[in-house]
Assembly symmetry: C2
Homo-oligomer: 220 residues x 2
DNA sequence: GATATATCGGTATAATAATATCGATATATC
DNA sequence: GATATATCGATATTATTATACCGATATATC
């Protein structure tokens, strides 16, 4: 719960996950020079419910929208970015320099989301003391120590499923507060620590199920 | 809705997304030689509600569990894999051979999920007629044509946000039925076509919000 | 073999999230 | 300046999902 002005605004998990889509959409509008946008308009373009959009916007926007006009695009953009915390930078470490780890290290876009990966870790000695796109790679044994020393708050886990829990424990021991987990397993973390799963296997499950249904009805 | 035996079993979206975690968990049990597992046991390990687990299992498992014993691990595993469709192979194309696209092409694990990427596309001519880990890269202009000819059903979109909708349209034109979208935008697709978003920006939003709350209460 | 009990499966309730409804109002239009 | 209306914001309803409850039963234990 967050207090803005004097009305308490609750944001559901789902709503929070929709925010990045609003943000991208608003950026597109700004690029086109659009000054105002209404909830029904956004709803139409993003294929969402009008009321849902209005509630979502109410949660982030300090200033209300105006009848017949809607919301100011630049204002909404600023509110959204500050709401999502993309303005202040969070430093992170990445553990597991495999294919996926490498891709994330190479991705420049994270700076737009307030994320900065400042070190990587792996167990492969041939990688030690090398760099990938400017990020140094350290031995996994030093994970806890370096997290603590550098006051790292975010750990990105891109190791195979079998090692993910061990890595997670090391991150927690190092004082990390939030973990972005790409392994398809449940991580046990203490309360107060967030384990956010990037559940690619779940996406694949959705794809697979959809396809099966389509192909079944096709052959009926 | 799915009919097994003669009782209709509905699987909620959320339940479907939990399945991969059950699957990995069951694999771990099998590796340890565990023969039976009960819903309360799974719930405890995966930090889920016992009833939820039982309902989820009921949705996939043709055979019920037994009091005092639970479910047979191998049986459950088999049911889960066939439920998720990981046994039959779906062919896919990938569009956008950037950092992320490369990572996905390099990832061997997709075969475990019944996914096989058989071609990649990009607009960079220097990539044409090259291969990445055995997957040929074609010009993006040929996307629709090749999808249709190869009867591809799944498209993986790893292009920047600005191009995602155009790529999506080409895939749909080529007869693709399901799209796995990594761009942080909403894709407009016809009904019957699934646009499954891998919403990494949403994960970052969750991380960012959690951190902000933690750090705020710390300084109070 | 009798008894106690862990677990199951079904039904009921509660919590959460999405959508519908409606009066109020600022602004575009005449 | 008067009027019509698009949009807002608040409240009510519905849908979905999660959790609690409870009788039935197979099996472990004595």
């Amino acid at each position: 719960m967050q207090i803005q002005g004097n009305k308490p605004v609750v944001v559901s998990k789902q709503a929070l996950q929709r925010m990045p889509y609003y943000l991208e959409y608003l950026k597109k509008l700004r690029a086109r020079g659009v000054e105002f946008v209404s909830a029904p308009m956004i709803a139409q373009d993003l294929k969402l419910n009008e009321v849902q959009v209005r509630k979502d916007l109410a949660a982030v926007s300090s200033v209300g929208g105006r009848p017949k006009t809607g919301f100011s695009v630049p204002e909404l953009l600023q509110n959204m970015e500050s709401f999502l915390g993309y303005n202040d930078v969070n430093e992170a470490v990445l553990v597991g320099v495999g294919a996926l780890g490498r891709a994330l290290l190479s991705y420049k876009g994270f700076s737009n989301y307030g994320l900065k990966i400042i070190a990587a870790f792996d167990t492969d000695p041939s990688l030690y003391n090398t760099e990938l796109r400017g990020t140094a790679i350290f031995p996994a044994e030093r994970l806890t120590e370096l997290c603590a020393r550098l006051k790292i708050r975010i750990g990105i886990v891109t190791v195979p499923a079998g090692q993910a829990q061990a890595v997670c424990d090391m991150l927690v021991a190092g004082g990390v507060l939030a973990i972005w987990n790409f392994a398809p397993i449940h991580l046990n973390v203490p309360p107060n620590i967030l384990a956010q799963n990037e559940n690619m296997a779940a996406s694949l499950a959705m794809l697979s199920k959809h396809l099966r249904q389509k192909l079944e009805t096709e052959t009926d």
